[in-house]
Symmetry: C3
Subunit: 142 residues, 3 copies
């Protein structure tokens, strides 16, 4: 563990993962915010607690926010797993730096693009993140 704490590649992975985790928590808060703003409650108990009427159909703004979260769920846990295996398998500090920061910045930009309905920027950011994971996965297998 002393070795990991001095390992540059692992430390880059660690900081990027922490940033991405906080980003995911905030993305969840963004959904809650949309729900509160539109009083778009689907659970009866929430409507009762926070005021408003429960509606089984998600409000469009909430559904949009949930899609941002779903896209995160489909991509960021892959980074957590594949990034870790990649650095534990002895990735160089510079290669890890490029992969981790490229992925992290692409996902932050994806969030901004998605919240602001910006295409094709959202698709481009998604694709950059996709390639980062694919690149590391290919390194692991070969």
């Amino acid at each position: 563990m002393e070795e990991l704490m001095r390992n540059q590649a692992f430390q880059t992975y660690a900081v990027c993962s922490a940033i991405l985790a906080v980003k995911m928590l905030l993305t969840g808060n963004y959904t809650s915010l949309q729900r509160m703003r539109t009083k778009g409650f689907v659970n009866e108990e929430d409507a009762k607690s926070f005021g408003g009427k429960a509606d089984p159909t998600e409000h469009p703004a909430v559904a949009h926010a949930l899609r941002i979260q779903r896209n995160d769920l489909e991509n960021i846990p892959l980074f957590f797993a594949i990034g870790l295996i990649y650095v534990l398998n002895g990735a160089s500090a510079s290669a890890a730096w490029w992969y981790c920061w490229t992925f992290t910045i692409a996902r932050l930009a994806h969030w901004v693009a998605y919240m602001n309905h910006l295409q094709p920027w959202r698709a481009i950011c998604y694709f950059i993140g996709y390639l980062s994971i694919l690149g590391m996965a290919v390194h692991i297998v070969f």
Copy 2:
């Protein structure tokens, strides 16, 4: 690896992760149970196999169960990643013990609260889990 097997912080993380993983499997079973009970099938092939008629709209009880799972998906994989990095970065046994058990018990209580439609308990449990992840993420970055 010998070192990890003797490391108290890692072992706490390991046991809590195993409990949370089993909890997620059981939360999935709870959804299946609701689906079977209400015959709420959305896939044609499931309706054919298990009896009943497929309906593209989820039954309210199934939709509620799926929201429990979604909330887990948004939080527990963050613990898997951030908790691991936190203990690999040399967290003390006692700090790891508090963070890991607080998170684990909060998520188990969240499940109970969500299944029983209990607000604001569900929101409080969610928030305690949220703070546990945030706390570890902040430790990692600084």
Copy 3:
């Protein structure tokens, strides 16, 4: 880290995780493909960029593809976490080999079965993956 790079159990876990990560990326592509094929856009900005009209209700083929992804999200991140802890806790090379490949092949077969609407094969594949995770989680706790 030298030790991990020579550890057979960890290397099996690493290769299986990489395969599963690529599988999840491709499962995402399958959803995009269904969306493009059916012009089933839910975001206004996507309909504008790719042609077609946005509809807040997912097209049945897209909803089906999203359910494949959701099932992955409920299972594969559990493998990433529990499989790693299991091998870091000193699993034997042969036990790790059986657990990891059983899970990986079950999830690949689950994907094929789900895409082709094959029951009860899909349920059987799901259950084999479920037991693999449960088995490793039980090993970790005891």
